[in-house]
């Protein structure tokens, strides 16, 4: 029954797209615009994936809805920005600082703020993470003022001789432009997604994390320090936005609410991809990025996010466990 309705939904979607697209505005327009929407969608989707992965991990393992996720990203963006401004440190090198830094901050938050309320009602935990977000954003406002700042990479528009080919950035792909900072963000996000997947699936720590997620009491019984696993998990979740913060700095801007821009989208991606699923977050991020940019071609403006939420609702209706989520009972 479930399988048939799913097939019907996908078939319906394909039919709608096949009928609507040739009659739509972009068909008449330059094909470059379409190519650009696809490229931009995939590139920004990679960042959405990375942000959502951390959120998904924290939700899947700790059952905590972390509203402070975007604010943690803001910390990472500021850290990268300050390292660049004061020490001239390349944002991509600052990954080696922001990832451990955010891991430590994440562990600290879990240890001192969230562990004490692990058994509290869910709305208390919600208020706590929301409170942390407000504190971080307003601290940033006090420390750095609200003025948005941005940086320019000196080598963002250069030729790179790779021996076999020479890449001239910004790269042209079917007429669409691929800027170097966005390409790097996308590739590193994929790399980190793979690394995170291996960490969860193939290491002893990952096994302990999965055990703590599935059956905390059982995990405790076989000698896993679940509180410690929770701290590590939240730390890893924060490290994901640590990476995302450094990666977006060269093409976004830094302001106290810069990270929060990603929070809502990240929640959508998490639910879409399947709660707690790393590959799900990856696929979900790319789907949302693509949907958002392609919707822009039909209904621009704030309604750009209409497509995102239509897809979101469709997934909730036809596949409530998410694209790659496991059915929860």
């Amino acid at each position: 029954m479930r399988g048939r309705s799913r097939t019907a939904a996908w078939a319906g979607l394909v039919v709608v797209v096949a009928v609507a697209v040739p009659q739509s505005a972009w068909w008449d327009m330059n094909h470059t615009v379409f190519a650009q929407a696809v490229v931009s969608g995939l590139l920004i989707g990679g960042v959405y994936s990375l942000v959502a992965m951390g959120l998904s991990l924290v939700f899947g393992v700790l059952d905590i809805i972390n509203f402070a996720h975007g604010a943690l990203m803001t910390i990472a963006i500021y850290a990268s920005y300050l390292l660049f401004q004061n020490y001239g440190l390349d944002p991509y090198l600052s990954l080696f600082i922001t990832i451990p830094l955010m891991f430590i901050i994440g562990v600290g938050i879990q240890r001192f703020a969230i562990n004490p309320v692990m058994d509290a009602p869910v709305h208390n935990q919600l208020l706590l993470t929301l409170g942390i977000a407000i504190i971080i954003e307003n601290l940033a406002l006090v420390l750095f003022t609200g003025t948005p700042r941005s940086i320019e990479l000196a080598y963002a528009r250069n030729e790179f001789d790779l021996g076999v080919v020479t890449l001239d950035f910004p790269l042209r792909l079917f007429g669409a432009v691929v800027s170097l900072p966005k390409l790097i963000a996308f590739l590193v996000a994929l790399l980190l997604a793979g690394a995170l997947y291996l960490l969860i699936q193939r290491t002893q720590l990952g096994a302990a994390i999965r055990a703590s997620a599935q059956e905390p009491e059982g995990a405790e019984l076989v000698g896993i320090d679940v509180d410690r696993i929770y701290m590590i998990t939240f730390g890893v979740g924060a490290a994901c936005v640590g990476a995302a913060g450094s990666l977006v700095l060269p093409f976004l801007f830094v302001s106290p609410t810069a990270g929060a821009t990603f929070t809502i989208i990240a929640f959508v991606v998490v639910v879409l991809g399947g709660m707690g699923s790393i590959p799900g977050a990856l696929v979900g991020g790319l789907v949302i990025g693509l949907t958002q940019e392609l919707t822009q071609l039909f209904v621009p403006g704030s309604t750009k996010f209409l497509g995102v939420f239509v897809v979101f609702l469709a997934v909730l209706l036809f596949r409530p466990e998410g694209i790659l989520g496991r059915v929860r009972r």
Partner: protein, 438 residues
């Protein structure tokens, strides 16, 4: 030992609480005292001063006049909002240092900051708080959507609002008597923008693609531009709105704008989205004669030039601007920079100017009663102002500043320079011109 520590910390917290309460009391008394002369000062100045002389020295200055300052101090627009609040504070400090309001016995001004958070409902409740606090007038609010609601409250309660920044025509269209606007409205922005394009291109600009934010700000300015463009033979061939506060990338939108092969791409929006649009245009190296902002929040700011360096070169913006050819303005800019360690932008200058407009009205009214201040504001005529307007600041019966006009600026040699209109020109424009030499 441990007991002692506990006792000492208890004692300490008690002292702190007491001190805090004491401050609170002092705060309420001054507010209450400030309210009473606001209504009675004109009628009976002698009676209000009598009790003061019994407990203090006769040289004590009169109670301060409260002026509200309502801007987005937190949230995504906090950068601009705080600079504007700082600008207002600087004006208040200057006026107080120069002896306050002479016609009110040298009464000092006191700025009451309020935070709209960028949301209309919060702005409305903060406006009500300011009015309850007893402000004689207030300034704000940076956003059209917030100002529309706040203006209605100012009108209802009869407390004058001087709009420093907020562009939408619809705010004053409805016939408000308590609201005054210093900056040019959307019609002026759009119509002058079209005129500048025509003058800039000398008739070579025939088509534009318009990329704008989809709040009432961008929608009204782009509509005003489209309405005026026809008379200069300019056609808007693409109109692409975007959500200014949730975008993280505008490359697709910019590609859409460029797809029809327009002569010029025109942009209206705020600072963050302006940065994203500039990046997208640079990455795409869009093949147009120029990128021109109309009431764009980024391209005329010192931050844009500082952060983008060479990539900011040759961007145009038609916007309100402080008169950068006036030495008095240069002194204000330098003072702001020294005081707040932040470059002063035109928004902050408009807030600074708005305080001087209110101070001028207070001086002429010789009263801090909101109704008297309103009456005085209506007859404002300030020739000695800080903005690049063709004449004095004076309000018509709808509350619009009759001389509010934008200027066209371009980033040339790492500085924002005025290029049109001719009387305010600092240097010749580079046209056609884009940073990538398109």
């Amino acid at each position: 030992m441990k007991r002692l520590t506990i006792f000492l910390s208890l004692l300490l917290s008690l002292v702190l609480v007491a001190a805090a309460c004491g401050d609170d009391d002092a705060g309420t008394t001054t507010t209450a005292a400030a309210e009473s002369p606001a209504t009675t000062a004109a009628a009976a100045p002698a009676t209000t001063q009598a009790p003061a002389t019994t407990q203090a020295t006769p040289t004590e200055p009169p109670d301060p006049i409260l002026i509200g300052s309502l801007h987005p101090l937190t949230g995504g627009l906090a950068g601009a909002g705080n600079r504007m609040n700082n600008g207002a504070q600087m004006a208040v400090d200057e006026i107080n240092a120069a002896g306050g309001i002479a016609s009110l016995g040298g009464a000092p001004l006191e700025l009451v900051p309020a935070d709209s958070t960028g949301a209309a409902d919060v702005g409305a409740s903060e406006a009500e708080r300011l009015i309850n606090d007893g402000v004689s007038a207030f300034i704000g609010t940076y956003q059209s959507a917030v100002t529309t609601l706040v203006a209605a409250i100012a009108e209802r309660d009869g407390v004058p609002l001087v709009i420093d920044v907020a562009v939408a025509d619809s705010i004053l269209d409805v016939g408000l008597t308590n609201v005054f606007r210093i900056q040019p409205n959307a019609t002026s922005m759009g119509a002058n923008g079209a005129k500048f394009l025509s003058e800039l291109g000398g008739g070579t600009i025939k088509t534009v693609a318009y990329l704008h934010d989809d709040t009432s700000f961008g929608v009204e300015v782009s509509a005003a531009f489209a309405a005026a463009a026809g008379q200069y033979g300019i056609e808007v061939i693409a109109d692409i709105p975007y959500a200014p506060f949730s975008v993280t990338d505008l490359t697709t939108e910019m590609a859409q704008a460029a797809a029809g092969g327009p002569d010029v791409i025109v942009l209206t929006g705020y600072y963050n989205d302006g940065i994203l649009a500039a990046r997208a245009a640079t990455d795409l190296e869009v093949d147009v004669m120029a990128i021109v902002g109309i009431a764009q929040g980024a391209f005329h700011t010192p931050q844009f030039v500082e952060d983008f360096g060479a990539d900011s070169e040759l961007f145009f913006n038609s916007n309100y601007h402080f008169n950068s050819s006036d030495p008095k303005v240069a002194a204000v800019l330098a003072k702001f920079e020294a005081e707040f360690d932040d470059a002063m932008d035109t928004e902050a200058m408009l807030a600074y100017q708005a305080i001087y407009v209110i101070a001028d009205a207070l001086e002429r009214a010789a009263s801090s009663d909101p109704a008297d201040v309103r009456a005085a504001l209506a007859t404002t005529n300030i020739a000695d102002h800080f903005l690049a307007f063709p004449g004095p600041i004076a309000f018509d019966e709808t509350g619009e500043n009759v001389n509010a006009e934008p200027v066209l600026m371009q980033v040339i040699d790492g500085a924002v320079q005025q290029v049109f209109p001719l009387p305010l020109r600092e240097t010749d424009p580079v046209f056609p011109g884009t940073p990538w030499g398109g």
